[in-house]
């Protein structure tokens, strides 16, 4: 790594943390009240979510290794950032995710095999956006931030109570589109939450290459209300998201959250992180593991952690088995699908192309061609 990117300017914004590494609750004047009403059962549910999610992620990686998926983008280490935020949303808040928000989609009810079907190359989209209020996953870095801005403008125009939420990474903040999205959302004071998972890396590039300030400080410059939170602290993420959504619902406009986390795994199954980052960094972050953190907290609270863990484990086992079964039996799509949904109303050249190709295939099978 080059020296020129090390001296990042000290940020103005503090990093909110509600749980320290030992799982103790640390007070936070601004965010504490957003935890009001959260029960031990809720915490246990967070734990189950994160454990199941980690298992889903592991299973997907394994399935990729076995040739069942074309690729997979692990979320290992980002469970709290995803679960803490999505669990703070309402079901009718509309989410615009990138390609790594498996946890967000799953928590909203998308089936694991539907999630994976896209990575298998069997389909272009794993869910119906209007059913789960999550847009199609986005691969083009940063594009979805503008869609969220537009959706938020729509909420504002029609007087809705919802919030549009864009998820993206630290690398994405360098794209023009993300910056334009901040500008649009700010200009119309639209109810949009920009949720940035700063996992320290954009493939092989450290976050300091993208920004010499804290990413959260960047957003402030746009006049967007911003929080920087410990992204491995599910309570801090949850509380900040609650705060941001409340801000939007009060008509106060867009917000930004930088969730400081770490991509513990490879960028995708095609990536080899040993080529560009030191093991020491990984070790440092292991200590901050989001699941351990919550387990510690439940322990501090004196809860029956083991039974919660057991329950989570059972759910994870079941999910993994079902998932493997579903994926390994997933049929390939029919060739006719190639031509479907290119247009919402079939047009003549589209119709002919389909007809010709299916005829060609049929002739071929007849041994004619």
């Amino acid at each position: 790594m080059s020296t020129k990117h090390i001296d990042v300017a000290a940020g103005c914004l503090p990093t909110h943390q509600l749980l320290n590494v030992s799982g103790e609750r640390t007070p936070d004047e601004e965010l504490d009240h957003h935890l009001t009403g959260l029960t031990e059962q809720d915490l246990a549910d967070f734990l189950r979510d994160m454990v199941v999610l980690r298992r889903l992620d592991n299973e997907a990686t394994a399935l990729q290794r076995q040739g069942q998926l074309g690729l997979w983008a692990p979320l290992l280490g980002q469970e709290a950032a995803q679960i803490g935020s999505v669990r703070a949303t309402q079901d009718d808040d509309f989410i615009f995710p990138s390609y790594r928000e498996h946890g967000v989609a799953w928590a909203r009810g998308v089936k694991a095999e539907d999630l994976l079907s896209v990575w298998r190359g069997a389909t272009a989209s794993g869910w119906d956006p209007h059913e789960v209020n999550i847009a199609c996953q986005q691969i083009v870095i940063g594009s979805q931030a503008l869609h969220a801005a537009g959706y938020g403008m729509g909420i504002k125009f029609d007087g809705g109570e919802q919030v549009a939420v864009a998820y993206f990474g630290d690398g994405a903040t360098s794209q023009g589109d993300v910056n334009e999205a901040l500008i649009f959302a700010a200009s119309y004071q639209a109810p949009v939450l920009f949720f940035c998972q700063n996992n320290q890396w954009a493939i092989s590039e450290p976050v300091a290459l993208q920004s010499r300030t804290q990413i959260a400080d960047r957003a402030s410059g746009f006049g967007v209300k911003t929080w920087r939170v410990d992204g491995n602290d599910v309570l801090a993420v949850y509380a900040a998201t609650k705060a941001a959504l409340a801000h939007a619902r009060h008509g106060l406009g867009p917000t930004f959250i930088e969730a400081v986390t770490y991509r513990m795994g490879s960028h995708t199954t095609a990536d080899d992180p040993t080529r560009y980052r030191k093991n020491a960094q990984l070790e440092e972050w292991k200590v901050k593991d989001p699941i351990d953190r919550l387990v510690n907290h439940l322990t501090v609270l004196g809860a029956d952690v083991q039974s919660y863990q057991q329950r989570a484990q059972n759910a994870a086992d079941k999910l993994a088995a079902d998932l493997r079964e579903a994926i390994t039996n997933m049929p390939d799509p029919e060739p006719s699908e190639l031509f479907e949904n290119v247009y919402s109303e079939v047009h003549e050249p589209n119709r002919r192309e389909k007809e010709n190709y299916l005829q060609y295939l049929a002739d071929f099978q007849d041994g004619e061609a």
């Binding site: 956006p129 503008l146 869609h147 537009g150 403008m153 949904n341 919402s344």
Partner: protein
């Protein structure tokens, strides 16, 4: 009633805004100013700032936020101020707008209309006279409309807005002031417009769209003087291309000239010539030829008359396919 193309477009937007509250207009300077071409004149005052929206100066932002609005159930109509400012939005147009219906397996509709005043001939500086339609013709998932007449401007814009697919709507800006006696009526059907035979003739099929159609109408008269009958076809829609109409004509005339302002190489003319050669090979008496802009960046305005297809170049091409001038291929290259 005599109406200009500008007024027809304005009325088309007004009627769409009136009939469907989900229609919203987005663009730079389209609100208070009414657009640099005044196409949206008076609409913000009439429908309010939540229906006619002045946007920050960012084309990717405009198209990207229109996509978000479509996710929310809106029917956004976007104005790109000039053709040459389409490109900052290219990624949103090509990777998002064009593909989202396919990506979502039909669950998300993208009824977004992107209005682009295009083409040259108005003495403008760089980036104000481009014809980028071929880029979108090559991009699956988009429809591309290119009206040439006052009536079509009204009707086709209504159709574009009603269409559940994204439509890139090219307005021939140098014809904005053209007038016609027309009654502006709400179209019955959406879908994509078909090509239209504007003049029936026996000798040469001449195909154009948008700003060049007026030139082709002049050519009909000029050719008549020379005893040549031109069958003139206005394509109207560039994607999907309605080449059945063109093929029917070429089967009759045996000769084809395609005209557009855009650069020649890999332009829409190439596609038309290639397809017509496929479907009409046995009928062709001469290779289809093209009259187009040159393969150069759009030139400074004091040279643009050379760059643009004009009556002389079209007639020269007609003579060429009639095998009346054998020495060289001239303006048609």
């Amino acid at each position: 009633m005599s109406t200009s193309m500008m007024k027809a477009l304005n009325q088309s937007l007004r009627d769409a805004l009136t009939e469907d509250e989900k229609v919203v207009l987005l663009g730079e300077d389209i609100g208070t100013l009414g657009g640099v071409f005044r196409i949206t004149d008076g609409l913000k005052a009439e429908f309010g700032e939540h229906r006619v929206v002045d946007t920050p100066l960012a084309e990717s932002g405009i198209v990207g936020s229109a996509i978000g609005l479509a996710y929310r159930g809106y029917r956004p109509v976007v104005e790109i101020q000039f053709d040459g400012f389409t490109y900052p939005a290219f990624d949103q147009l090509v990777s998002q707008l064009a593909k989202l219906h396919f990506r979502s397996r039909g669950r998300v509709k993208m009824p977004v209309t992107v209005r682009i005043p295009y083409g040259g001939g108005i003495g403008s500086p760089e980036h104000h006279s481009e014809s980028p339609e071929a880029y979108f013709s090559h991009t699956a998932g988009l429809r591309v409309f290119a009206p040439s007449s006052v009536e079509d401007a009204y009707v086709m814009l209504r159709q574009a807005i009603d269409c559940d697919d994204p439509v890139i709507f090219f307005e021939p800006k140098r014809r904005y002031h053209e007038k016609a006696e027309v009654e502006l009526r709400t179209p019955e059907k959406t879908g994509s417009p078909k090509a239209k035979v504007l003049n029936v003739g026996d000798d040469v099929t001449v195909v154009g769209y948008g700003p060049t159609v007026y030139t082709l109408k002049d050519a009909v008269l000029a050719a008549e003087d020379e005893g040549i009958g031109l069958e003139v076809i206005d394509l109207r829609c560039l994607d999907p291309l309605d080449l059945d109409t063109v093929a029917d004509s070429v089967k009759h005339t045996g000769k084809l000239v395609v005209v557009h302002e855009a650069s020649r190489t890999s332009g829409i003319g190439a596609e038309i010539c290639a397809q017509i050669t496929e479907t009409c090979f046995d009928y062709l008496e001469h290779a289809p030829i093209r009259v187009t802009g040159f393969d150069i960046p759009y030139p400074p305005s004091r040279l643009e008359s050379h760059h643009l297809p004009d009556l002389d170049k079209v007639m020269h091409a007609v003579d060429t396919v009639m095998r009346r001038n054998e020495t060289h291929t001239g303006g048609a290259k």
